[in-house]
């Protein structure tokens, strides 16, 4: 069980990076970005490209990759964000200016999702890919097994969350973003440039999800569908926590990650004890969904949401 908990934290830290982006976009731009998962995959594949063209600088001790991966993450974050800004300019901005509804924007983001996914398939093909060698897990007390790479994954995720937190808290544009999230009209009246806020929202949200994609690629493998598959747990993390709360998104993502791993384990044990032939691991993604239904029925505004 302790091992499943640790697995949940690792998964949760990847979900966190995705969930912060979804919650920022939902809060400041007012729509659910259905392209978020495919932007995550895109980031992962960009890093694969970058690692491929870089000279081989060897690997870090312990880890399965070298310094080029750090640069690859930065590259993936930047380029994916640039793509997102491009789509904002040609698609979301005109729609916004026309006063399109939240649902229209969500629908157009679904179109963007398919565009990203088909670009990935066209450029890299549909097969699964890996960054590098496979890594053996090490044993720790309580039956916990962790791959050294996984320390890197959780550490990087934490670093990025703290960086975003400080950005929102300390910088001028970060404060403007928080003000816009509270009250857009008031923010504009007080002289905050909304378009600048929009651009920074995209940059932060999308670069985080690109980083999440690379980390997810290190943890498992790269597939064109990888991001779409974790889009639902990411959405659920946001919905469960309540839209617009950075720490809430993180806690929500951790809850979803841990619940997915531990509930699958617990239910599998239960079914085995009852001699029922059910393969619970196959239903991991469904657990996030069931959790969302329960939370929304009990507390529609989310766990941390205040409800307006």
């Amino acid at each position: 069980m302790a091992d499943l908990f640790v697995n949940g934290i690792i998964l949760g830290s990847i979900f966190t990076l995705g969930a912060i982006g979804v919650t920022l976009i939902a809060d400041i731009l007012n729509f659910f970005n259905f392209a978020h998962g495919d932007m995550l995959s895109f980031g992962a594949y960009l890093a694969l490209f970058f690692v491929g063209v870089m000279p081989n600088w060897g690997t870090f001790p312990w880890l399965s990759f070298g310094p080029s991966m750090i640069l690859a993450i930065i590259f993936a974050m930047g380029v994916t964000a640039a793509f997102a800004l491009f789509f904002d300019r040609i698609l979301f901005k005109p729609l916004r200016e026309r006063g399109a509804s939240e649902l229209f924007l969500a629908l157009s983001s679904l179109g963007v999702a398919f565009i990203f996914r088909s670009i990935i398939r066209l450029v890299w093909g549909p097969q699964a890919k890996y960054y590098g060698g496979l890594q053996m897990a090490r044993r720790y007390p309580l039956g916990i097994t962790i791959k050294p790479d996984e320390f890197f994954i959780v550490g990087t995720a934490l670093f990025l969350v703290v960086a975003v937190y400080l950005f929102l808290k300390k910088t001028k544009i970060g404060k403007a973003m928080r003000a816009s999230s509270d009250n857009k009209t008031l923010a504009r009246v007080t002289g905050i440039k909304t378009e600048k806020v929009v651009i920074w929202t995209w940059i932060i949200a999308v670069s985080l999800t690109a980083a999440a994609g690379v980390l997810y690629g290190i943890e498992v493998q790269l597939r064109p569908i990888m991001g779409w598959n974790i889009l639902i747990p990411i959405f659920v993390a946001v919905v469960v926590a309540g839209v617009g709360d950075l720490w809430g998104a993180m806690v929500g993502a951790m809850i979803i990650g841990v619940a997915q791993e531990m509930l699958t384990g617990l239910l599998q044990d239960m079914f085995n004890a009852l001699d029922l032939d059910v393969l619970m691991t196959a239903y991991k993604p469904a657990i996030a969904f069931v959790l969302m239904v329960i939370v929304l029925l009990v507390r529609p505004q989310g766990i941390f949401g205040t409800g307006e």
């Binding site: 939902a26 969500a106 398919f114 088909s118 239903y283 996030a288």
Partner: protein, 314 residues
């Protein structure tokens, strides 16, 4: 060539039925259903299990006639939609869309993994096409086209009558302003539930129609692209809120989809293997171009002019 054309008409009619259903839910009620695949799966599998001959691998088949399969698909989809309505319809806008997407992925997992019920990834073979054993394969296509056409017409008439009735006006009221509708004494949850269930039943029928035409279904029959996304494209192109428009949209989009297959033959051989992804890319771009340049679609919502001279527009 003719058989291509018949096949096109049958599939376009099937999609036309699904488009009418989505138009009822989204165009008239404002329910953003991102999980059309759910009801395709349920409809297709219900009908397949009811009509195929007995198999040792999964529940059923019961060897019942096509019409029982079709009705079964409609009824079971309706029951599922009714049960889903309780949690899902408490959610608004994007939250509803997310939950529908999550449900459809969950249903896909069930279809894939519960081998005793659905034969898992191997799918179900030998789903009978009505009258095939009577008239032979070539004539059977014509008969099936007739069935698909009649069903399309029936559902078209039903939705037309529905949305023009007082019930349809309440749907519109709920879509435009839910609070206002409630203030006028309308139970908005109930209204949305009716539209959702009715639409889902029609989607179930479309799923069954697909299953009997193909003769084979599997968990990969209804991907998010081919089940949900393409139907959205159809109703947006045709014009949300116009039943005539969305049926036309289905025929146009399916024509483009099939037509692009012919174009692939002219491409250099290196690209042909990737052609499916090019088509997917084009569909994504087409959706966003429509949303940008012509959000009302080819037809657009009909203006409803009240007796008092006011008009309601988008």
């Amino acid at each position: 060539m003719l058989s291509y054309f018949i096949s096109y008409l049958i599939m376009a009619s099937t999609y036309g039925i699904a488009a009418l259903a989505l138009n009822l839910q989204w165009g008239f009620t404002g329910l953003m259903n991102f999980g059309i695949g759910t009801f395709y799966f349920v409809g297709a599998y219900s009908s397949a299990l009811l009509t195929t001959s007995h198999s040792p691998d999964y529940v059923g088949g019961f060897g019942l006639p096509f019409i029982v399969g079709l009705l079964g698909a409609i009824i079971i989809s309706g029951i599922l939609a009714y049960l889903l309505a309780f949690p899902a319809l408490k959610l608004r806008g994007g939250f509803f869309a997310i939950s529908m997407l999550a449900i459809s992925e969950t249903i896909r997992l069930i279809v894939k993994n519960e081998k005793w019920l659905t034969n898992g990834v191997w799918g179900i073979r030998g789903i009978p096409q009505p009258t095939r054993h009577l008239v032979g394969a070539s004539w059977s296509e014509w008969v099936y086209l007739g069935i698909a056409g009649i069903l399309l017409y029936i559902f078209y008439r039903m939705t037309e009558i529905g949305v023009r009735s007082p019930w349809g006006r309440v749907l519109n009221a709920v879509r435009e302003d839910e609070k206002m509708a409630e203030m006028s004494g309308k139970d908005s949850w109930n209204i949305k539930m009716q539209s959702f269930v009715f639409g889902s039943m029609i989607m179930g029928a479309a799923g069954a129609l697909y299953a009997h035409y193909m003769g084979f279904i599997s968990p990969s029959s209804f991907t998010p692209l081919m089940a949900t996304f393409i139907v959205w494209l159809m109703i947006l192109l045709g014009g949300t809120g116009s039943n005539k428009g969305v049926v036309l949209g289905a025929f146009v989009v399916w024509g483009v989809w099939i037509g692009s297959e012919f174009l692939i033959d002219f491409l250099p051989s290196g690209i042909t293997s990737k052609a499916g992804f090019v088509r997917m890319l084009l569909m994504g771009i087409l959706l966003d171009v429509i949303l940008l340049l012509r959000p009302q679609g080819l037809f657009g919502r009909e203006k409803v002019i009240s007796k008092l001279g006011g008009s309601s527009e988008e």
